[in-house]
């Protein structure tokens, strides 16, 4: 059946004053497959019904030429009928001079581009396979227990495993917890109640002494090999929460304080064990420790230590001072610290401890601990507030040791899910060995869909935060199983159904797509051809951008579509009508362009913008073809790459850089100026800077003169 495309051109919001809408209608009507064109003074109001009625009467593809695709999405949603938006408002009427020839040409090109895209959009068929709603939680410490309880409470079957013989994780090694908020009492750890919540829950199966040997598959159906004291078993689950906790930083970080050499220098973990035994003593003699010095180990000279200082460390130092205070009320305690990390309501506990008789807080950097002739210790402290060096006499020195996530290779007890993924068996780490990526807006935007980290492998955090984190990770796991059941994407393209299709006859088995996918969604079959695990896919299109022979496409997003859009732009041969193709990331650059219009700022009318899912989805062929066709320039507008990358698909803008180097090489071979193709880094806050950046590019193009390939 031939396509029946309806084109709906709005004249509202000053579009009608800016461009000739009737002329646009004629342009639309002349395009292949367009069977209906309508205009309205406001398609977002009552006339939206006209579109719905046409769709009911057989229009199978809809093009709405009106406001930006970013607004009125609910209004122009038509079930499964593909709807393509053409931005005549923000990016034409609001950012170009009204009734100018160049403005009209821009609008007509954008309309043709929209129709070209729409007619190359197929309704997406969701991936459907058997799926499970159960959740595996790895690690039965506070975060894992919390995750298990929360998921079970919400109705999901949970398998909770821990390689230790008993659940509880590090909680089992602690004496007391510190309070939060205005409470100033040492807290019971409530391990029993956490455990009870899980062990009494009909939906939780707890398996201790059990390690994960392998995880394969995808969200909705992960296959898990478990090892229970040498006995292996298999499980299938829909999603995974990884919460294997931390290990104390290794002793060798603390050699300068005599740890391991001096018997009365212990770690904060040793202090927990000592306090649990009920007395504060010198381990070397067993005699009471009357003078205790606690070192926060947070100064510049502790740089051999971990590259982060937890608020946990400060709070534990304060808490352990209170252990001494309570177990041995006549003892003195000095806490030596650089910055008291007690943000927020933790300040209240700091105040409380500070006010206790016998507890002294000394700001400074501790030096090497020395053994005196009588067997006691002295701790030199430099840089104190009083300005002179102190010598603190001590019977017992307690070192606050940091938390190394078990995901960190330096951890003595490294844990792994042993992922059966082509990209490797570990979850990718980001900062300081922690497992996450975007940790601000979306703390669970991880690189392995359906696998969420919680607790101390996620970030350095305390008990209460770990419990919260466990519940939060469980919610992400719930979303993963629910969306997998629908064959839909999870964050950030939530609900997106179309997933990449491969035209295998042309695949050269180069494997690039499998390497560049940020989410490890692609595996290789025996012929080394890519095989997609659709529920791992986040629909960014980076594979599509990677493929050197363009065999990868989505039903609603493809190289063919981008090329058709590019080709539908008219390229006049006049010297004063340069044409620049803009490929704009739809999360940052495209909204910024919209906001240029919302602020009624203007920029040259040479630019023809295609929104792309991620700059990483731009195949270099699209850029090379555009230049060969005669575009005077190509701009790739997207976000910052590098350490502080902003890409919500992790590395799209990074990958783009490499690909564009190749394109520039091609330009060089064609004896064209390589600067005709530029990546312009932009952010969503750049609306006021963008017109200047685009104008500068237009000036550069003007200096180069028209693309000599034009007209060939």
């Amino acid at each position: 059946m031939s396509p029946r495309t309806g084109v709906y051109i709005c004249s509202g919001c000053s579009i009608g004053e800016s461009v000739d809408v009737d002329a646009l209608s004629s342009v639309a009507a002349a395009e292949d497959g367009v069977t209906v064109t309508r205009t309205s003074a406001a398609f977002c109001l009552e006339d939206a019904q006209l579109i719905a009625k046409d769709a009911a009467d057989g229009v199978d593809t809809v093009v709405v030429a009106a406001c930006s695709q970013r607004v009125n999405r609910q209004v122009f949603r038509l079930g499964t009928t593909p709807v393509r938006r053409v931005n005549l408002r923000e990016q034409v009427a609001w950012s170009q001079p009204a009734r100018a020839e160049a403005t009209q040409a821009l609008a007509e090109d954008l309309l043709r581009m929209g129709i070209a895209a729409a007619t190359r959009t197929a309704p997406a068929t969701p991936y459907q396979d058997d799926h499970l709603h159960s959740i595996l939680v790895v690690g039965a410490g506070p975060a894992g227990l919390s995750a298990a309880a929360a998921a079970a409470d919400a109705g999901y079957e949970v398998t909770l495993v821990d390689r230790a013989p008993a659940p509880g994780g590090f909680l089992g090694r602690l004496f007391r917890g510190y309070p939060s908020g205005a409470d100033s009492h040492l807290q019971d750890l409530q391990l029993e109640s956490l455990l009870e919540r899980v062990t009494t829950h009909a939906k939780v199966t707890l398996q201790t002494s059990t390690a994960v040997r392998r995880v394969s598959g995808q969200p909705g159906r992960f296959r898990v090999d478990l090892d229970h004291d040498g006995q292996t078993s298999e499980a299938e689950v829909g999603a995974v929460v990884f919460a294997t906790g931390f290990e104390p930083a290794p002793d060798q970080f603390f050699g300068r304080y005599g740890l391991g050499e001096l018997g009365d220098v212990i770690t904060s973990v040793g202090m927990e064990e000592m306090a649990s035994r009920g007395d504060i003593v010198r381990p070397s003699t067993g005699q009471p420790a009357q003078r205790v010095v606690i070192l926060a180990c947070d100064g510049p000279e502790d740089s051999a230590n971990l590259p982060y200082v937890g608020s946990v460390t400060s709070m534990v130092a304060l808490k352990q001072a209170m252990y001494v205070h309570q177990l041995r009320p006549d003892a003195t305690v000095h806490i030596v610290y650089q910055d008291m990390q007690t943000p927020g309501l933790d300040e209240l506990y700091y105040r409380h401890v500070q006010g206790q008789r016998g507890i002294f807080l000394v700001r400074g950097q501790a030096g090497p601990v020395r053994l005196q002739e009588d067997g006691t210790l002295t701790v030199p402290v430099a840089g104190s507030v009083l300005g002179r060096e102190l010598e603190l006499a001590a019977d017992l020195v307690v070192l606050q040791v940091g938390m190394v996530p078990t995901s960190d290779p330096r951890s003595g007890a490294q844990s792994s899910l042993h992922l059966d993924y082509l990209q490797g068996e570990s979850l990718p780490t980001h900062r300081a060995g922690f497992l996450d990526s975007n940790f601000l807006c979306f703390p669970f935007e991880t690189r392995r869909t359906g696998i969420y980290t919680a607790g101390s492998v996620h970030r350095a955090q305390d008990l209460a935060a770990c419990v919260r984190d466990g519940a939060a990770a469980a919610l992400k796991a719930v979303q993963a199983v629910e969306k997998s059941a629908q064959g839909a994407a999870v964050h950030p393209r939530v609900g997106d159904l179309g997933y990449p299709q491969f035209f295998m006859q042309k695949c050269t088995a180069c494997g690039r797509c499998t390497q560049e996918c940020p989410f490890g969604a692609l595996e290789l079959d025996a012929q080394r051809h890519p095989v997609i695990e659709p529920n791992r896919c986040r629909r960014c299109g980076i594979c599509m951008g990677a493929c050197p022979v363009q065999v990868i496409s989505f039903p609603d997003y493809s190289v063919e579509m981008l090329n058709a859009m590019q080709k539908s732009v008219e390229l006049p041969e006049d010297d004063d009508k340069p044409r620049v193709l803009v490929l704009a990331c739809e999360n940052d650059a495209y909204p910024a362009l919209d906001m240029v219009g919302i602020n009624r700022l203007q920029y040259p009318a040479h630019f023809r913008t295609i929104p792309v899912r991620c700059l990483g989805s731009v195949n270099q062929v699209v850029v090379a073809d555009a230049i060969q066709r005669g575009y005077d320039g190509v701009v790739l507008l997207g976000c910052r790459s590098g350490d502080n990358y902003q890409c919500h698909f992790i590395q799209g803008s990074e990958l783009l850089g490499v690909r564009m180097d190749n394109v520039r090489e091609t330009l060089g071979r064609l004896a064209l100026e390589t600067d005709r193709v530029q990546v312009i880094e932009t952010s969503i806050a750049d609306a006021r800077a963008l017109p200047g950046k685009l104008t500068a590019f237009a000036s550069e193009i003007a200096l180069m003169g028209p693309n000599p390939m034009k007209g060939f």
């Binding site: 937890g310 910055d339 922690f434 979306f442 919260r468 979303q479 902003q646």
Partner: protein, 414 residues
């Protein structure tokens, strides 16, 4: 979900994407709360608008969420699994026919101080909070509108979207669980009299400085002295303006050290000659934020001084601002002349629906308990404690999960 800032919005989206039916109640006409007013986040120095854009698109695409703006919770009855909530919707005076074309604002004759810019700019009385406002619909400030006396916007609107007769309405809802994410407000800097906020126009608060740094703010991102519009060559960042002070806020506001370090780094980046002085008691940069803090402090034009600011004076001859601080490391009072003083004012929990939640819902400072009076009512974000964005979003996701557990009610004993 009560509150449409980053915490409430996150909780709403996370719960809805897990399949729950969600009502999101926001007292302002637009979502985004305080984060929409920030210029950049620490430590990545990325604009909050980036994450907001994703969240707004998630909201637009999610049919499980019903949004009430200009709305507040008036009454809450019932218990876990069966709360009855009464919501008052104040008139927006603009209905959902609004296309945000802006014709109304062009004819509106009334300027009002813009609360989004903390009074540093004005808007028309019919306004969008900012260029990315969600919902993308204008609202009228009823406290400054001339109503029928004027009516110019009504005549100018091509879409019959303005209704000056609109009245408050009440909505009754049945819900299984409630999350309170009513956020925070800056501590009133006028109360800290020694810091001269009221006495010198070049003494501003950190939230005002954020607006100055923001490209969509009153100076379009340029750091200028409010008194004469000249480029700032030196600025003092005064930590704990109100926080950690028994006379003001006994607690630490948690985020200000990092916020000020971020602001200092943006100052020295934007004004290539400028010097930043950060006066602090403790630099609280927990966890992996330490790396960011060290990088900022190591900048040759950033100086961090461990010392509490005692006074902010104006030199009677030159009119120059002078920061007097007690240097805790080297001893003695030190005097630093600067162009601009930025007070790191603390976070105070917003007044919210305490009546409906009962008298014991809050602590002495006004923060809500995490789990308010047992199962079913939860607090998230800065309504619970002074926390940063990363903690707020995590918090909100956890609260959403607990709410989902209550709504689904599947607690089964083995």
């Amino acid at each position: 979900m009560v509150g449409g800032g980053i915490a409430g919005m996150t909780a709403a989206l996370e719960a809805a994407e897990a399949g729950a039916q969600v009502y999101l109640v926001e007292k302002n006409p637009h979502l985004g709360g305080r984060v929409a007013q920030l210029s950049r986040y620490f430590p990545k120095l990325c604009p909050p608008a980036c994450g907001l854009e994703i969240n707004f698109q998630r909201l637009r695409d999610n049919q499980n969420i019903r949004l009430f703006t200009t709305a507040e919770v008036e009454e809450l009855r019932g218990g876990p699994g069966h709360y009855q909530v009464r919501i008052r919707r104040d008139p927006r005076y603009v209905n959902d026919r609004c296309t945000a074309c802006g014709a109304c604002a062009q004819v509106c004759p009334v300027d009002r101080p813009n609360p989004f810019d903390y009074g540093m700019s004005t808007t028309k009385t019919i306004y969008l909070s900012h260029e990315m406002a969600y919902p993308m619909r204008y609202a009228i400030d009823g406290s400054t509108c001339l109503f029928e006396e004027c009516g110019k916007c009504v005549a100018a609107c091509p879409y019959q979207a303005i209704d000056l007769q609109m009245e408050a309405a009440t909505v009754e809802l049945e819900v299984g669980a409630v999350i309170v994410a009513t956020g925070w407000q800056p501590y009133d800097a006028r109360a800290i009299t020694n810091l001269a906020f009221e006495h010198h126009p070049d003494v501003i608060t950190n939230v005002m400085f954020e607006r100055m740094l923001a490209e969509n703010g009153p100076t379009e991102g340029r750091v200028l002295r409010p008194s004469d519009g000249s480029a700032v060559r030196s600025a003092a960042f005064v930590q704990c303006a109100g926080s950690r002070d028994r006379l003001h806020l006994a607690y630490c506001s948690g985020i200000c050290c990092l916020a000020s370090l971020k602001e200092a780094s943006l100052l020295v980046e934007r004004n290539p000659e400028a010097q930043a002085h950060v006066f602090y008691i403790d630099l609280r940069t927990p966890g992996t934020y330490q790396a960011f803090a060290s990088k900022v402090i190591d900048h040759p034009r950033v100086r961090a001084v461990k010392g509490k600011v005692a006074d902010i004076l104006t030199d009677p001859q030159s009119g120059q601002l002078v920061v007097v601080a007690d240097d805790m490391v080297h001893g003695g009072m030190e005097r630093t002349p600067v162009d601009l003083v930025v007070l790191a004012t603390g976070m105070v929990p917003n007044p919210g629906p305490e009546g409906p939640l009962g008298p014991d819902a809050r602590d002495a400072f006004g923060f809500f308990e995490e789990s308010i009076g047992g199962e079913g009512l939860f607090a998230a974000g800065c309504a619970r404690a002074p926390v940063d964005v990363a903690t707020s979003t995590l918090d909100a996701t956890a609260a959403a999960m607990r709410a989902l557990g209550v709504v689904r009610g599947v607690r089964v004993e083995a």
